[in-house]
């Protein structure tokens, strides 16, 4: 347990928007081991992106951040921007949702990659010539399986397709061989065939380079297909956490009611056409006025008085499987069947 790569404890993030307080992340804790793949799943506004940006120090100034995030023992929260920059891009790297908007449109892609390399060369010791950085960037482009890497090096983002742009983003993120790569909805804007290509690439690279991967997504299918461990977030809190095999597939069992609802609401190819989907009513709570008890209670058909009064803690009820629910689903049984 001591060799955790990233240890997040009681992370809290609060914004002030238009004179109102928004609790985006409300006390979450998790650990990422070296080389592991963690999926953080949640709907929009659940706090999944904000928590990762808080760790990277990428939130706008004026955001209140509490708790702790330690990268191999080094506390990241509260570091000055200059100190944090030593980790950003070198130990911690990030790939974003929309590759069309995440690359600078007026800068050649090669230069954007070499920038990532040269930014950290002082801290990595040893000066590199521009040529070396360029050579390294072309190798990175090859690493992410971009054909004709030398030619692509000199092109602008608009000359690349969506999938190619995301590969460039990955190449840029890998420039300093990070220990942890955060992929924030990295495949959401891509077509499903491209998504499969990019996910396979990411997993191959992860194995090759031995880095840990945090996948942020709204897609449970993606988590089931590619992650080791899954965290489900709702209204700024972790509501369930388990190994992927413990949630999905033959031996898995979802326990938290929200995760169950999420799983049931996804259209499956196996489901006959025109069947009604099991749905929960309502919408996520207003982050400026969270309910006193379980955040999901107002939408949960199994909610009882205790759910509305007290917040259930996220506790490890089964080894490796944690959930925050007063009345969890029975083991293995889907409530709607």
């Amino acid at each position: 347990m001591t060799d955790a790569l990233l240890q997040v404890d009681d992370l809290r993030v609060t914004f002030a928007v238009g004179g109102r307080e928004v609790r985006a992340v409300d006390g979450i804790s998790f650990t990422v081991s070296p080389g592991a793949t963690l999926a953080i799943i949640g709907e929009s506004g659940s706090g999944k992106t904000v928590s990762c940006r808080a760790i990277m120090g990428l939130l706008p100034t004026g955001t209140a951040i509490g708790g702790s995030a330690r990268l191999r023992g080094t506390e990241l929260l509260g570091l000055s921007d200059a100190e944090l920059r030593r980790y950003r891009g070198s130990d911690l790297a990030m790939v974003f949702q929309d590759p069309a908007r995440s690359l600078n449109p007026t800068m050649r892609v090669g230069l954007q990659i070499t920038e990532a390399i040269t930014t950290h060369r002082a801290t990595r010791g040893g000066r590199q010539s521009k040529r070396e950085a360029q050579q390294q960037a072309i190798e990175l482009l090859r690493l992410v399986r971009i054909p004709a890497a030398e030619r692509r090096f000199h092109e602008y983002p608009h000359q690349l397709s969506g999938g190619m742009r995301q590969r460039v983003m990955i190449a840029m993120a890998l420039a300093c061989r990070p220990k942890l790569l955060i992929a924030d909805e990295a495949t959401t804007a891509l077509d499903v065939t491209t998504q499969a290509q990019i996910m396979e690439l990411l997993l191959e690279l992860q194995e090759e380079l031995g880095m840990a991967l945090i996948m942020i997504s709204h897609d449970l299918g993606l988590a089931a297909s590619y992650a080791d461990e899954v965290i489900v977030m709702y209204a700024g809190k972790i509501v369930e956490q388990a190994p992927a095999a413990g949630l999905f597939g033959a031996g898995g069992a979802v326990r938290m009611r929200y995760t169950r609802a999420l799983l049931d609401a996804i259209p499956h190819l196996e489901r006959p056409a025109h069947t009604l989907l099991p749905v929960v009513t309502g919408r996520p709570p207003d982050p400026t006025a969270l309910p006193p008890g379980c955040s999901f209670a107002p939408r949960c058909q199994y909610a009882e008085d205790d759910c509305r009064a007290k917040v259930p803690a996220l506790a490890e009820h089964v080894p490796g499987h944690r959930w925050a629910c007063w009345h969890p689903c029975e083991n293995g049984a889907a409530p709607h069947d």
């Binding site: 347990m1 955790a4 240890q7 809290r12 609060t14 914004f15 002030a16 238009g18 004179g19 109102r20 307080e21 609790r23 409300d26 006390g27 804790s29 998790f30 650990t31 081991s33 209140a64 951040i65 509490g66 461990e229 956490q241 008890g293 009064a309 007290k310 917040v311 259930p312 803690a313 996220l314 506790a315 490890e316 490796g320 944690r322």
Partner: protein, 298 residues
Amino acid sequence: MAAPLPDVTLLGALPPLPSLVNARRLRAQRLGRALRLWVPAGILILMLAMCFVLPLVASLPSPTKGDIIVNNEPPFSPGHWLGTDMQGVDIFSKLVYGGQVAFEIGAAVTAIGIAIGGTLGIIAGYFGGSVDAVISRVLDILIAFPALVLALVIAQGLGGSEIHVIWALSVFGIPAVGRVTRGATLTIRGLPFMVAAKLSGTRGWRIIARHVVPNIIPTIVTFSLLGVGIVIILEGALDFLGYGIPPPTASWGNMISNGQQILSAQPEYVLIPSIALLVTVASLNMLGDALRERWSTQ
């Protein structure tokens, strides 16, 4: 693997997290937002009241005829709290009546700009194609034309009077509003709700009246506030060059122009109308900014 947490279910609910946002900062945010809107609005209301209401309720000295005996009185003189000019005319009175002219011209030119330029802009932006090509080219020509030159030529040809100044400055106002309106209409035209409206069966002018116009009004209003400011400055420029409001009539431009002659001796003749101009235009600009901020965050 995750470090096991102590099983806290037995403890019941977690303690509520302390608020991380400073309540004072939240209040300051809200206050700043309100002030940015109401301070310039208040100043403008005061200025308008001073120019249009004050002459009705208080008897001000004549803004055109003065007593030569009390000429060149410094500010804070008895009876003339901003002093008098070379002809002994009360400066405060000139300021008030000059302000009337400035506001009237600013409002009229902007109104003409919105009426003609706005209509042209909407038509060009909404119908596109060759209609747009023709209107845009005409606006292009008017914009490539140095507006002040045209205004001067017109003002000189027609002779100085308030109504002529209004027509002359409209040459500037119409293409400016037209271009802004056209841009805003183009933006609106591309939005899905316009397609939705057409598919719902709404047609032609009704779409313009009910969908386009309400959605470009914020743009036009904020631009008009800036426009009134620019027009007031330009009106002063015409006066200043001698093609505006003909002299004995009070106007801020005339006051600045007249003060030029005794600039080094009595700079306050230039400073007083200049400050009035500055305060008015700045309030208009700030009000426009505040409204834009408000509407864009909606």
